[in-house]
């Protein structure tokens, strides 16, 4: 029998992740305004794009002087993993009708991680919806607050907000570095990015690393297959 909502682990983890991630919307809002977007454009990104990594990539390219097409390309490439989450959540939660479309919008790193961390099917559903909807609501509220405050607090660099972005991406990467191979892929892709930075427009180094990572995935898989 599923536990009651008050004792539900899926709901609890979902809500605490929602608060932690939602608060971080402040730094997205402030950074986005500092990158040259208006408050409305910043909120539109959080409402429509709704995927932290893609949103930071978008404003990161704009801040670096890149054009909006490159920004959209970087955001789209970073969003590809959400399709993979969607495939797995579709098999796990089996949403029907309109829920399929709603599930799609709330499919992000955190809702996927919360849901797949549960074993009971009811808890998997609760984890997904509490994390997904909770983050959506809080992320948008705090994005707006950050965007409004951002123009008032001056240069976000003085508050270390560019350093916050570095730490956030590393923190998202960290749990995936459990194997030696994962660490090697991360180092190779980081090196490819750094080597590409002086030679191509901002945003493109990320795409260079994506090609390197996909190649490692493709050829690494073939090698495994042959040795088996």
């Amino acid at each position: 029998m599923p536990s009651r909502l008050r004792q539900s682990p899926g709901a609890r983890i979902g809500l605490s992740i929602a608060v932690a991630t939602g608060l971080y919307g402040i730094s997205f809002g402030a950074l986005s305004v500092a990158s040259g977007l208006s408050v409305l454009q910043t909120s539109a990104l959080s409402l429509l794009l709704f995927s932290g990594g893609s949103q930071f990539a978008f404003i990161g390219v704009i801040a670096g002087g890149g054009n909006p097409i490159a920004a959209t390309g970087a955001a789209a490439l970073l969003g590809i993993r959400n399709a993979v989450y969607g495939m797995q959540l579709n098999a796990l939660l089996e949403p029907r009708g309109w829920r399929r479309f709603a599930s799609a919008q709330f499919t992000i790193d955190e809702s996927f991680a919360t849901s797949t961390g549960q074993t009971d099917p009811v808890e998997q559903k609760r984890g997904f919806w509490f994390a997904g909807v909770g983050i959506f609501v809080l992320w948008n509220i705090f994005t707006l607050l950050g965007a409004l405050a951002g123009s008032a607090v001056g240069d976000p660099k003085n508050w270390g907000l560019d350093g916050a972005a570095v730490a956030a991406f590393l923190a998202l990467l960290w749990p995936r570095l459990k194997s030696r191979e994962a660490g090697a892929i991360a180092i190779v892709c980081a090196l490819a990015t750094v080597l590409a930075i002086p030679f191509v427009p901002p945003g493109i180094p990320i795409l260079v690393a994506a090609v390197v990572a996909a190649a490692i995935g493709w050829f690494g898989y073939r090698r495994e297959e042959e040795t088996e």
Partner: protein
């Protein structure tokens, strides 16, 4: 105006990318090569974002206070700090180094 246009395009692309996952046949899931590329791609993209956000200033490679954020974040993660703490530590490191006069 162009920026608005691309913000909306990015939003539409993001939604349909997510929806695509819910529409592909489940047999796809069983293809280990698809799963493997998805996993290496995610690691590679997050590593690239970390590197670019640390070292890039436009098309220039720079060493500034963000290095401090990277080191501080590594220490916080080694100490198993929660996500939000890691982010705050990263911000404090950069802000602190800039107070001390680092670029």
């Amino acid at each position: 105006m162009t920026l608005w246009f691309w913000i909306i395009v990015a939003g539409i692309v993001a939604f349909f990318t997510k929806l695509f996952g819910y529409l592909v046949p489940r047999a796809w899931l069983k293809n280990p090569r698809v799963l493997r590329i998805a996993s290496t791609l995610t690691i590679g993209l997050l590593a690239a974002l970390t590197a670019a956000n640390t070292f890039a200033n436009g098309q220039h490679l720079v060493l500034d206070a963000r290095i401090g954020s990277l080191v501080a974040a590594v220490i916080a993660l080694l100490l198993r700090a929660p996500f939000l703490v890691v982010v705050i530590v990263g911000a404090l490191a950069a802000a602190g180094l800039r107070l001390l006069g680092f670029p």
